[in-house]
Amino acid sequence: MRLFGEDVLPLAAEHIVLALVPVLLGLVISLPLGWWAWRSRGARRILLPLTGVLYTIPSLALFVVMPILLGTRILDPVNVAVALTVYAVALLVRSVVDGLDEVPSEVMTAGVAMGYRPLGLLVGVQLPLAVPVLVAGMRVATVSSFSLVAVGAIIGQGALGALFTQGFERFYTAQIVFGLLAIVILALLFDALWVLVGRLLAPWNRRVARPTSSVEV
């Protein structure tokens, strides 16, 4: 499908991959890190402030610094992917810690008293109970990832963000509005997907099972 002189479908596909892969990768990395930070007070004291600082670094700056740290070329899409993974980890480590913290102490006591070993308790009790908080974290990470991919267009790696840079150069408002809509719709689509996953994984939880009425600050 050609629109505004661009083949937008491949751009959209690239956008989805660039936005989602880092979030999923971030989850995989965050689970052990978050568990470690939850378990050890020392790890928590280091990891949580560190991820907090990483999260504050503006995306454009992180994209630009990546080649120095990774030794990649400036136009390599890996730069954007790794930077977004860093953001996802920064956000999700906190979610994992919060999610594990949320497990009521009497539930932990009961689990231990019934003879769960640490890994069994983690997989059978703690992680399932952390699902609502994890899903909330994944939603925020996913939505912001879709919007951050577009920033990469400034350094020539932005998938649908290219619609913004080109639209700006050509003074073509419709192209920009189209890009905005496309990215917002994709982001909300995958946001809804996480809500669905949350309901399937945590049917016992009213917060996930019912429409959310809370906001993350």
Partner: protein
């Protein structure tokens, strides 16, 4: 059987939780640990399933030193009930109850079937099995907690203030239910509470602990009420202990009086079967007080005497037919005569 010998527990900061505790919880009995907060009762309980390890001394379960056992394996063989039940919010009631059997490697289907039976056993409708814990009342959750502890067929049950978070009416129900279950199952139960009334109601033996973790007295409830060893125990056992003690004394040899059948005083009205229906004085009908049923404790006899408008209570047999009158003085006389320190067979709890 659970044996504590010379068990001592001190924490790294120097706080002593328990000092040379020695006591034995006998097979098939309910042994209650009671005391104010900070007396180490929960610490004691948790030593049995190694949630806490003693600094010195040994805890033996059926003769085996628990410190030689792998904690998770040990724990799967011991039922555990805590305040607020600690149910898994993400699992249905049935799957909560089936937890330990599944951990023990029994089939899930079999575990669920057994869980369904246990639900009925603890007095719950089997239909609640599919619900999540959040959809149950506090009392129901606590019943599920008991069912879950029974599910592994563990001969030993540890209960840590299991009924403290529910309201008094529900608590009384749960206590009755536990006594009924225990009469069927005969498990060895170690029960922790801060409530002396609960301890007296449930315990075959009661251990009163002092702050700082020393054992003040270990005795059957009646003895605790009749002969507290010191001021601490007397104070802890609390008010009305003379009266409450009566429930452990049988009224079998109580001298009954006969009721007058005519005259101006109080006349007992009975129906054709000889069951009392009320009192008559002059022309007026007056309601009965409480009635003492044959075989009940001296507490019930005294209550019948004191609550009767006529100044004497009514004793009835198992079918409710009048046996005779109870004078308050007769109760006191009996109490003095038997010296009443021994728990009698007829005592109810």
């Amino acid at each position: 059987m659970i044996e504590f010998s010379e068990v001592h527990k001190a924490y790294a900061d120097g706080t002593v939780a328990l000092q040379s505790l020695s006591l034995t919880a006998r097979e098939g009995e309910i042994t209650v640990l009671v005391g104010p907060s900070g007396c180490g009762k929960t610490t004691t309980l948790r030593m049995v399933n190694r949630m806490v390890d003693p600094s010195s001394g040994t805890v033996r379960l059926d003769g085996v030193d628990v410190s030689t056992q792998d904690p998770p394996t040990l724990r799967r063989g011991i039922g555990y009930v805590i305040q607020n039940a600690g149910l898994f919010p993400h699992r249905s009631v049935i799957d909560n109850i089936a937890t330990v059997p599944v951990l023990l490697g029994r089939g899930r289907a079999e575990a669920r079937r057994q869980a369904g039976e246990l639900l009925e056993r603890v007095g719950l409708d089997p239909r609640v099995g599919g619900r999540y814990p959040a959809q149950l009342s506090g009392g129901q959750q606590q019943r599920v907690g008991v069912a879950r502890a029974l599910a592994g067929d563990a001969p030993v049950l540890l209960m840590d203030e299991p009924f403290s978070a529910v309201d008094p009416v529900v608590r009384a129900d749960l206590q009755d239910e536990l006594l009924r279950l225990q009469s069927e199952l005969g498990r060895t139960i170690l029960f922790v509470t801060h409530d002396i009334d609960e301890a007296i109601r449930l315990g075959d033996m009661v251990a009163v602990l002092r702050v700082g973790g020393t054992l003040a007295q270990f005795a059957p409830p009646s003895e605790l009420l009749a002969a507290p060893v010191d001021d601490f125990v007397a104070g802890f056992v609390g008010r009305d202990r003379g009266y409450r003690r009566l429930q452990f004394v049988g009224a079998g040899s109580l001298a009954l009086s006969t009721f007058p059948t005519t005259g101006d005083g109080w006349l007992l009205v009975v129906d054709d079967d000889g069951r009392p229906t009320g009192w008559r004085q002059g022309g007026d009908r007056v309601a009965l007080g409480t009635v003492h049923q044959e075989g009940a404790s001296l507490r019930s006899a005294l209550d019948a005497a004191l609550s009767s408008p006529a100044g004497r209570g009514v004793a009835v047999d198992d079918d409710g037919r009048v046996l005779g009158g109870i004078e308050p003085e007769a109760v006191i006389t009996l109490l003095h005569r038997t010296d009443a320190l021994e728990p009698a067979d007829g005592g109810d709890r």
